[in-house]
Symmetry: C2
Subunit: 591 residues, 2 copies
Amino acid sequence: MPAYRAPLDEIRFVLHELLGVEQALAETGAFPGLDRALLDQVLQEAGRLAGEVVRPINRDADEEGCRLENGRVTTPAGVREAYRAWVAGGWSGLTAEAADGGQGLPEVVAFAVNEMVTAASMGFADYVGLFAMVYRMVKRHGAAEQQQRYLAGLADGRFGGTMMMTEPHCGTDVGLIKTRGVPADDGSWRVHGTKIFISGGDHDLTGNIVHLVLARAEGDPAGSRGLSLFLVPKLLPDGSRNALAAVSLEHKMGYAASATCQMALDGATGWLVGEQKRGLMVLFDMMNAARLMVASQGLATADAAWQIAAPYAAERLQGRSPRGPAYPDRPADPILCHPDVRRMLLATRSFVEAARATYLWLGLEVDLAERHPDAVRRAEAAEWLSLLTAAVKAVLSDLGSAATNDCLQVLGGHGYIRANGVEQLWRDGRIAMIQEGANGMLALDLIRRQIPAHEGRAWRRLLAAMAESAKEAAAPELGTAMQAALIRLKTASDWLQARIAQDAAEAGAAGVDFQRLFGLTLLGWQWLRLTEASARATAAGRVGAAFHAEKLASARFWFARVLPLAEGHWAAMQAGAAPLMEPGEDYFAAG
Amino acid sequence: MPAYRAPLDEIRFVLHELLGVEQALAETGAFPGLDRALLDQVLQEAGRLAGEVVRPINRDADEEGCRLENGRVTTPAGVREAYRAWVAGGWSGLTAEAADGGQGLPEVVAFAVNEMVTAASMGFADYVGLFAMVYRMVKRHGAAEQQQRYLAGLADGRFGGTMMMTEPHCGTDVGLIKTRGVPADDGSWRVHGTKIFISGGDHDLTGNIVHLVLARAEGDPAGSRGLSLFLVPKLLPDGSRNALAAVSLEHKMGYAASATCQMALDGATGWLVGEQKRGLMVLFDMMNAARLMVASQGLATADAAWQIAAPYAAERLQGRSPRGPAYPDRPADPILCHPDVRRMLLATRSFVEAARATYLWLGLEVDLAERHPDAVRRAEAAEWLSLLTAAVKAVLSDLGSAATNDCLQVLGGHGYIRANGVEQLWRDGRIAMIQEGANGMLALDLIRRQIPAHEGRAWRRLLAAMAESAKEAAAPELGTAMQAALIRLKTASDWLQARIAQDAAEAGAAGVDFQRLFGLTLLGWQWLRLTEASARATAAGRVGAAFHAEKLASARFWFARVLPLAEGHWAAMQAGAAPLMEPGEDYFAAG
């Protein structure tokens, strides 16, 4: 598989020029001593690790996959090797607090690191991302004793972690969960049930694994409000094996380095995390973190695919430029001369950079929501995250998958064979449209929950911010296009909310079309912000004129060639629910 | 992998009610004794073979793949087994003439059979489709001696066949071909070169393999007009091995049952097919046949995916219908209650049926182009095929891949694991967007060649036929929607042809957006034809009212929810080439 070059310049541009993270983080007072030099050094080191250690194991890990023997999962050799390097470099404790042996760095840095490691190997990144998330959940919601037992091991990489939700009969609809907890005399619980699709349910990377298990305490009511969260370790505090094990491994389309386990809990000992019947609260917190991780999968795989497709297009000679031979001395022109090849590459790059700006922005908001001294700013950050997390997960995974698919197409038959790596990126990235909430379901979160929340306060704030950016656009035609897009977005949203008041089915009927319309507009807004930042940075001499010109080119492409597709989604939405809801069950039983 | 149920009722409806094949074929006088009963019997038998023999081997063949040892390719055991059944049933000679030992059936029947076998196993279907195509090419273009030597073996399944075009440095741009033919004293040629991506380049299904090799006779000019086609058998007439061999196998994303070989021709003995330097003519003929086969891959994989996703959606209980519990006695409603799940399924079925109508129609036109006694009708058929073949290949493979992707999404995580089969359908079907011409390149064929051909005669005929159908629509709102779509199509096409006159880059810049706009409209037209046919058949009592109601439901969905996406493509097109062509080479070297 081709090398991976970490997009350090781009990440730094977003962090410093667009988001001003140094200042924003300094305001929290939570990261003393964290300056730009240190941030940049961490990023550079992460980029090196991603490129030199993680990427080289990616293809073999895909071919080798995971094995389950005698209830123990063996990960691909390369994954074990990369994990040793990860731990040795202190990356497992990147955002863990110093008291737990961590580095105490902000989440936004972990977001950037996660993008690079995910681009290098999505399967590997899944383990370390999950482990860090479980640290975070135990830190935020665990009892003191749980924290004392597990945080240090999670921070220094001795322990892994999982989240266990899905069961054979329920994924999205967690209210159906059958796994149950029975209280024991000593305050612990015995957990019984079967969980499926558990990433890293077992593996050989760490000694212990901290499982966070969604289950129902005996006697608690049916439905999602009767759920509790249990911490169920693989090894009990006395070192003995707990009564849970991986009983099978899924063979998947991709993402093969990540062990996807079916887990049997046979009276496993666990402890409540947070209060009984409040499992859903912790779950939502965990889910939001997980969704932003999944959003990065769409972005990262698309960027990795660009890194293969763009040089291929510059080197592959085939046909002639439609405007006449560009290189008459060569037998043919590079396929980069063909407008449609350019279209696919421009679509990818203009997606990736706007997606990265969105993703890192939300990473910063995570820090601000937790650490900002001003409660108003904390609340604002939390509202941004509520409003956008599910939508961004969906939009970045959808468009990221489409961009990777375009990059595969750029290579033609050479994209379809395994050796060139794009096909693996596509297969791996495809799960992002499904995991942590299927994208179609997430559209309902945006439409039914987030937009109307607090009488539309966060939604109106977003529209106002977009309108503000349109006024300050670095190029007037971009501002004009944004204004038109904004009117369409607002019209579509108002239309939809009015329809839903008449018929609840209208939300799902319009769901994915509205989500896409919203996503295309959201990324358009990011392009206004990015070009405004690059104009500023160029004027101040911090980046060259060519850098700004490239940002403008991407922005123009997005507004001219991608955003107009929203017009089709708006047209499709307006047909409403009837054409979907009218066909009877027989229709779907035929054919 | 789940069972495959051949869509016999749907195929018969298209053949008899929409296309009236019995009458149309009778007019040719070329198929005496061919009546509806015989046709239906052949289809039923093919459906049985596809479901009972071919589908059961599909998953194992994917897992097992092909092996190359000592220059010989071993296919998966199941492929060999299915091939024996194929030959034993006389399917290898389905359309071969009686004089060659064939069944002498029309192409349109082979098209229908091909759809079913492809849906059952795309990898298996590739072999038998290619073999039949090579029979056809030798029959149409081969010298008498070549016909005598190879036709019977191709018809009775003893011989296989390939087409060899692609080389490491050239795919689309065949003018760059380096493989060369050197004349020998006896009228034969010695062919030297390397070919890649050769489907069935070697295998263990047949004793001999008839390779059709595109190469340049020594001394002939560079470029595509210097190319000739050579027949190069694996075994020479004396039974000895010819000087060509498979030297490596590609490991691909899917389509693993099909052996994709790199072939070395080391002075292999061959004979000219057709005239020297007229290789491109034969190639075009072969390519058109191959493209319609590839079009079927998009359609067939989508239908196969529907067959898995629709029952899953009816059975999987998760969440509640937005309009209130549909099955209050069950723990949850089937996911079929969710509008977005319905959207994905309706999109798939409404695509599949319109695609099948298009595909089988073109199959009939192949017969009419060859066999109709009236030269005018023959020419008209040939013009339909010229106009539509490349576009239909592109549209059916693009939309088929998207539909299969939607079906995968319906299953959520269960779609991502191998056991349920949809992921293999997606991986297999993905090659259809690439092989026999990448879809982006095919857009140029439609825009630059076919629409302007003969001062737009065939194009105007198509638009007139669409307008006629709009007038006769089975439901008035469909007619109105079609008229609007037609105006958009004509406006977009005229706009584009005018732009191209100014700048040749505009064709490729608009290419895929126009192709999609065209495809959505073309399939909309098919829905008018299908509903008009089902209205007629219902009125005459030949199909039930429910059948017509389902056709109307699909048609309404297509016009209401799919066709409007064309509005976005039209908007995107209008930005023109500038946003694509302006970024310099540095833009694509960065990031």
